[in-house]
């Protein structure tokens, strides 16, 4: 490892020990640049909108609503959407309800490991404003301080139909190129990281989990 690891385009990774720092990539993520020809970008957006894979990661009680979507009654696969077991294979992260600080850390890890294009749907009132856990010592009150949200679904808990409607709307938004959450995250990375580190006090992972 003779390569100079500190430059403007790297992250500090100060939560890791000197040995561990050598094990992780410390490059800064870069925003996605759309295709210069509009028709190509539109086509790409159409393709993205029709290839949504949900990460199977339920954070709170709202994620119960994901189960009926997978099975016969609401059957989300008729829209060409299915669940995936790992972040690397998924493009939609549904934040299923309240987010404790401990879970937030795992959410950040998983989200950063997802490959673009990626989108976040925040389900329920808990990620939006704290919901009924607004006074808990352990759950965050505004999810969009920590990760960018593309679509909110209100309710406690929202019905599966509401989630379906949100996914349909997300598709429309992706088609017109409105879902730039992942880019917002990368462009304002320092702001997001500062917020994340304010609540996650034992930050013992790389600053960006490639």
């Amino acid at each position: 490892m003779s390569k100079d690891r500190s430059s403007k385009n790297t992250m500090e990774n100060s939560g890791l020990s000197a040995d561990e720092q050598l094990l992780f990539c410390n490059a800064r993520p870069e925003p996605y640049k759309p295709y210069s020809i509009k028709a190509v970008e539109d086509f790409a957006n159409w393709a993205r909108a029709n290839s949504l894979w949900i990460l199977a990661f339920g954070t709170g009680c709202c994620s119960i609503e994901l189960r009926p979507l997978m099975t016969a009654r609401f059957d989300i696969s008729r829209f060409g959407i299915a669940g995936r077991p790992t972040p690397r294979q998924s493009s939609v992260f549904i934040i299923g309800g309240y987010v404790s600080v401990k879970t937030l850390k795992r959410i950040i890890r998983s989200y950063e490991q997802m490959q673009g294009p990626k989108f976040i749907i925040a389900l329920g009132s808990c990620p939006a404003n704290g919901g009924m856990y607004f006074d808990s010592y352990n759950t965050i009150n505004q999810f969009d301080l920590y990760l960018p949200v593309d679509m909110y679904v209100t309710g406690c808990m929202p019905r599966p139909e509401a989630l379906l409607a949100a996914i349909m709307e997300l598709k429309e938004d992706i088609k017109v190129g409105n879902c730039d959450g992942a880019n917002r995250y990368v462009e304002n990375l320092d702001w997001y990281k500062a917020n994340q580190k304010k609540v996650i006090k034992n930050w013992d992972m790389p600053d960006y989990n490639w």
Binding site: V101, K102, K105, A128, N129, G130, F134, D135, S136, Y137, N138, T139, I140, N141, Q142, L145, K198, V199, I200, K201, N202
Partner: protein, 179 residues
């Protein structure tokens, strides 16, 4: 049951017996006698199962009450052993030698109430919370609302309604919220 309780009362200085629920009897015992009593109940009286250990914070009296809930599979009776300990420098004898699962409860009590169990394994490690740096959150002097607002912020526009008044107004709008 009663003969057992009478004998224990004199041997272990039990100073209060109550039947708050028909199926559960609770004994109050001094801190110094507690481990000996629990050991006796486990080894001689058939209370071989530890249901749970928990803590009640009586901040007004400056004490924590630890509750050891024991179960007897023979006569299907449940017995609670209650021990009062000081809130300041709270400390209690560890019973992890009696039941290994007591570790877990004791780690939890340490994290949530700040009670020390000297000798109990893995006491220093984080249990549920990661990197907690405030007073233990289950102590009643900890103000969880203040902490939450300071740490996690408050979403502008969020309002709280009194549920009773709100539902009255929703259900009986013509009566001006008065039914």
């Amino acid at each position: 049951m009663n003969t057992l309780l009478d004998r224990l009362a004199t041997d272990f200085g039990i100073y209060d017996i109550s039947d708050r629920k028909p199926a559960i009897t609770t004994l109050k015992v001094e801190k110094q006698q507690a481990e000996r009593l629990i050991r006796e109940l486990r080894d001689r009286e058939g209370y071989t199962h530890l249901n749970f250990i928990t803590c009640i914070d009586y901040i007004e009296q400056g004490i924590f009450t630890l509750v050891y809930m024991l179960h007897n599979y023979g006569d299907k009776s449940t017995l609670g052993v209650e021990v009062d300990i000081d809130r300041e420098n709270a400390e209690m004898t560890s019973i992890h030698t009696l039941w290994a699962q007591a570790w877990t409860y004791q780690r939890e009590l340490r994290e949530m109430f700040g009670i020390n169990f000297p000798g109990s394994p893995r006491q220093e490690e984080d249990f549920c919370l990661e990197g907690w740096d405030d007073i233990p959150p289950m102590r009643r002097e900890f103000n969880t609302k203040t902490y939450s607002t300071e740490t996690f912020g408050h979403r502008e526009g969020r309002v709280s309604e009194d549920p009773r008044e709100h539902m009255k107004a929703q259900l009986y709008p013509t009566r001006g919220g008065d039914n």
